[in-house]
């Protein structure tokens, strides 16, 4: 579905030499996969994301969306139709003065009939729990509300693939949980491909696959379980593990043999109960 081959990018503006931001990056994301992208600030995540809908074009290598090279100008709209984007700063994404028009903007550009648009916009706004704000002005909403509208805009396009750049950064805990539910639902019901850039480790733990970037490369690409068991490596990359993994790991480091290959509350509770039973049977 999305493929980057030897991708090279730099924001070099010809005036002064700047560093390479994406450095020979290779990544292949299959249809229907839910991939989380992690990495420290400035490692190139947003730059990568903008290559997936042709907003940025590679300086070296190629990016393909459903086999179409993003450099193929004639296909740009086909690509944009397939890849919905939620940008890091929702302010940059607001295009209309009314929430529902804002959400309708992308589907309108796709030439979808207006009755269908109406339905999609309402559905999308309900999905993110912003339906009652549909007549409001988007730039006057609170931070988290703007973020929800931006997500609705991408959902309303019903794209093959959705790329979300820190969509939950400004959301309250329930809002975050709802976005994760929405992602899982889009994946299960529509087989949508989802790329989620996030700094929340517990969100990444829910993905099928976790890609860790460092200075323009991919350094780890594996299942959440295999990624989050490498606690020291993640910390050395400026990242972290979910709280429950951290707890099990720190107990282990203190000499208590608790299994720290855990990603969820239930798994962690199981591991601790197993350890408690092992002590008791040893007594």
């Amino acid at each position: 579905m999305l493929k980057a081959e030897n991708l090279l990018y730099s924001y070099d503006n010809g005036v002064k030499k700047v560093d390479t931001v994406l450095d020979n990056l290779n990544l292949n994301i299959k249809k229907g996969e839910f991939v989380a992208v992690l990495g420290h600030n400035g490692c190139g995540k947003s730059t990568l994301a903008k290559h997936f809908n042709g907003l940025l074009l590679p300086l070296g290598g190629d990016v393909y969306v459903q086999g179409i090279n993003t450099k193929d100008e004639e296909m740009l709209w086909t690509i944009r139709r397939q890849v919905g984007m939620v940008f890091q700063n929702p302010d940059n994404q607001i295009v209309a003065n009314v929430v529902e028009e804002d959400v309708a903007f992308a589907p309108e550009n796709l030439g979808i009939p207006s009755a269908e648009i109406r339905k999609r916009v309402d559905d999308a706004l309900k999905t993110v729990d912003m339906y009652r704000y549909r007549k409001h002005a988007p730039h006057l909403l609170s931070g988290g509300q703007k973020q929800r509208v931006a997500i609705a805009g991408a959902i309303a396009m019903r794209p093959e693939c959705i790329v979300m750049d820190e969509p939950t950064a400004m959301l309250d805990p329930m809002g975050r949980a709802e976005v994760m539910e929405t992602i899982l639902k889009l994946k299960a019901q529509e087989n949508m491909t989802v790329v989620l850039i996030t700094h929340y480790m517990d969100e990444a733990a829910m993905a099928d696959r976790v890609v860790v970037m460092d200075d323009g490369h991919i350094v780890v690409d594996d299942t959440p379980r295999n990624v989050f068991s490498q606690v020291e490596l993640l910390k050395s990359l400026g990242l972290d593990v979910p709280q429950v993994t951290e707890l099990a790991y720190s107990l282990n480091k203190e000499g208590f043999d608790v299994n720290y290959d855990v990603l969820t509350v239930t798994e962690c509770a199981d591991a601790i109960m197993d350890y408690v039973r092992s002590i008791k049977s040893g007594n």
């Binding site: 600030n41 700094h199 707890l247 509350v265």
Partner: protein, 290 residues
């Protein structure tokens, strides 16, 4: 600096069909030197409330006092208020406007009329404090990544050495190491004394570790106000208003439900670790059977 908020109401777009009462009869008193966390669902009024603290927004009714001075004062007094109360905005982009990062961080101290050398020291200290490498200082703030912009915005406010530091979701968009670094810097600035800190956050984990007092907003009203323990012991109510308890507390609840005899009121990984180690030791000595 002490803060006193009395019967504060604030309404957006009054008289229009979109009229929104964002703050509804808020009463809060914050003593000098408190470290307060402000949490609440999106749209609950947190940003609206904190923008009252430096006079950016004026009450529609009620009063806001900073050290006995009302925020509706004008001229020199308002200028002093803006120096005393440093506000880091939720969206750092709203705060960045100079052509280089250096100038951006220097903006506040320059306005304070400080000598050039002092400004230079403050800019470099603040940049170091938020983990911005020196080479970034010459860049345009608009050419930075999201997390880097946020660090610049925080540095700009820290450089003013305000008496009240108000941070509106300062760690949104920061990587975990950056979040850790900035929060521990804020904590150490706070520990040095003479500062009141108000931290708006959606991270239950972060506030649980840092603050002495938690104020919870819901639909423009104060829903709860107390210590971290007092507030987080009301987990079910918090979930009803869009919030939650830290993940580690969900785990502790689960362990208690499965029969472990441990203290249920635990909200940080550090405390959970210590509590569980104590428990393991007790059962190792055979002191506990259940």
């Amino acid at each position: 600096m002490a803060i006193k908020i009395e019967n504060l109401d604030y309404v957006y777009m009054q008289g229009s069909p979109f009229e929104k009462k964002a703050l509804d009869n808020i009463n809060i008193e914050i003593k000098d030197g408190e470290f307060v966390g402000l949490i609440g669902h999106t749209g609950s009024g947190k940003s609206t409330l904190v923008q009252h603290l430096n006079g950016l927004l004026k009450p529609h009714s009620g009063h806001v006092f900073i050290n006995e001075h009302e925020t509706t004062e004008k001229g020199e007094k308002l200028k002093k208020l803006r120096c005393d109360v440093g506000l880091v905005f939720q969206y750092p982009e709203h705060q960045l406007f100079e052509e280089t990062v250096y100038k951006d961080i220097a903006y506040g101290p320059t306005n304070l009329g400080l000598p050039k050398e002092e400004i230079d020291i403050r800019v470099r200290d603040a940049a170091r404090c938020v983990g911005l490498p020196p080479e970034v200082l010459d860049k345009s703030p608009f050419d930075l990544s999201g997390g880097q912009k946020r660090r610049v915005a925080i540095a700009g406010v820290i450089a003013m050495k305000p008496s009240v530091l108000v941070l509106d979701e300062p760690t949104a968009g920061l990587d975990p190491a950056g979040r850790e670094e900035i929060l521990s810097q804020i904590k150490s600035i706070y520990d040095e004394g003479n500062m009141t800190v108000i931290l708006v956050s959606h991270s239950m984990e972060d506030v649980a570790r840092l603050v002495n007092r938690l104020i919870v907003m819901n639909e423009g009203k104060v829903f709860a106000d107390g210590t971290v323990d007092e507030v987080f012991s009301r987990g079910r109510e918090l979930r009803n208003i869009g919030l939650n308890v830290p993940q580690v507390n969900v785990l502790i609840d689960e362990l208690v439900a499965r029969g472990l005899n441990i203290n249920p009121n635990i909200y940080t990984v550090e405390n959970a670790k210590n509590e569980l180690i104590e428990y393991f030791k007790r059962i190792k000595e055979g002191g506990e059977n259940a």
